[in-house]
Symmetry: C2
Subunit: 245 residues, 2 copies
């Protein structure tokens, strides 16, 4: 199996402002991505493309000022979308049954598959991308900024552009045994956890994260600082009224 492209790819957060993607190039990548699989051939997603400098600057601010958003060639906001399908049904004497958690689950999945296919198509053409999950911290702000109506849930943005300088080294990943189970789910013992997370914990960057954040373990950096329960619950509070119906 030739997997070199996949194991070497990396998130790119700094873009070359001298080398812009044309609208036609961007559209060909989005169209290519729309040929990705879906869960039921309903294409329950939409993408809002931001290219105007003021618009990108406004969204970058909503993304907590992340440089990847501010300096990209285009910012794509990936949305789960049950609205278009519902409108099609209404116009054709049918009634969509998707406006409940089951339909939103399908839409969130379709959107993620589509978004990742865009990223792969872009990266294979020498571009760099970065997922911006910070959208979830302010769903209403993005809905307002992008004019997103009921039946459409913005999930995250993807910034894209030609990399500035070298593409970074790939992010660290758990070993295969950390994510793969043969025939049955094999639950993790304490020894498994030590073995699976050991290499990640031993990285020099991990010691740095721990020190910078005044913590004792890398898990504390993730659980207390980056993704504390209060933040994750605020995401739940923002999306729950939309998808739980």
């Amino acid at each position: 199996m030739n997997t070199e492209f996949f194991t070497r790819r990396a998130t790119v957060r700094a873009y070359d402002k001298e080398k812009e993607l044309t609208d036609a190039e961007l559209e060909s990548l989005i169209y290519a991505a729309s040929h990705a699989p879906t869960l039921g051939n309903m294409q329950l997603y939409s993408v809002v493309v931001s290219r105007e400098p003021e618009a990108v600057a406004r969204l970058a601010k909503l993304h907590l000022g992340q440089p990847a958003a501010a300096n990209c060639s285009a910012l794509l906001t990936i949305c789960a979308d049950i609205r278009r399908f519902g409108k099609w049904c209404s116009a054709r004497d049918a009634k969509s049954g998707l406006d409940n958690l089951g339909g939103w689950f399908m839409a969130i999945t379709d959107a993620a598959i589509f978004g990742q296919q865009f990223v792969t198509a872009a990266e294979m053409n020498g571009l760099g991308c970065c997922y911006l999950g910070s959208l979830s911290y302010n769903v209403d702000g993005f809905k307002e900024a992008l004019g997103i109506p009921e039946g459409v849930l913005p999930l995250y943005s993807i910034s894209v552009g030609y990399p500035q300088g070298e593409v970074p080294a790939p992010a660290d990943r758990l070993p295969l045994e950390g994510i793969m189970h043969r025939e049955r789910y094999s639950d993790y013992s304490d020894a498994d956890i030590d073995r699976i997370y050991g290499p990640k914990e031993a990285l020099p960057s991990s010691a740095q994260f721990i020190a910078e954040n005044g913590k004792e373990t890398l898990a504390q950096v993730f659980a207390d600082v980056r993704y504390p329960e209060s933040l994750i619950k605020s995401i739940a509070a923002a999306i729950s009224p939309i998808i739980n119906k």
Copy 2:
């Protein structure tokens, strides 16, 4: 932009039983896929690989007997997984804040990105894949069959194998204007819906689906027959107690 691979790919449901994927090949594809992006570098997913003929046959039955599941070289069940991260936290004096809808949203997204990267890596190596969303119709059955514990939600399976015969033609897709919005979400008028869905409705296969199902419109086939509200609500009922906490 070179996008030919993406626009020509198609779902493959019939596999060559004379040409099996080795375990090492399969594992190299899964490992490659694990280098896909994530929303927060927590890799909130797991995959259970089924290869033993009796196990695959049992799962194929749970997948309503779909031939793609029964005849594949391997069946991968993609799971959102907040359990492993939670165990890591517990072992390191940290408390995971992910066991609520916000954390499950991140996990469902990480899992979908990972699954799609597997599909792309497999397809680029001459394999064919098919998403089996029918898992959602019987979440408890799959949990039991695969020994999946609390904190892990099986989402769908992906069947993989070498294509039998020619790779099918790509599935029909909405035109670009159907899924892409420039700068702001541009809501769909009735005329837009006609234009966007017209080519799909005009396919010979659509007339066939309508006739076979005794319906008047293609939208009715999707909304009444394939994805009726009762089915979609049963998915909601199965996953809601797990992800809404």
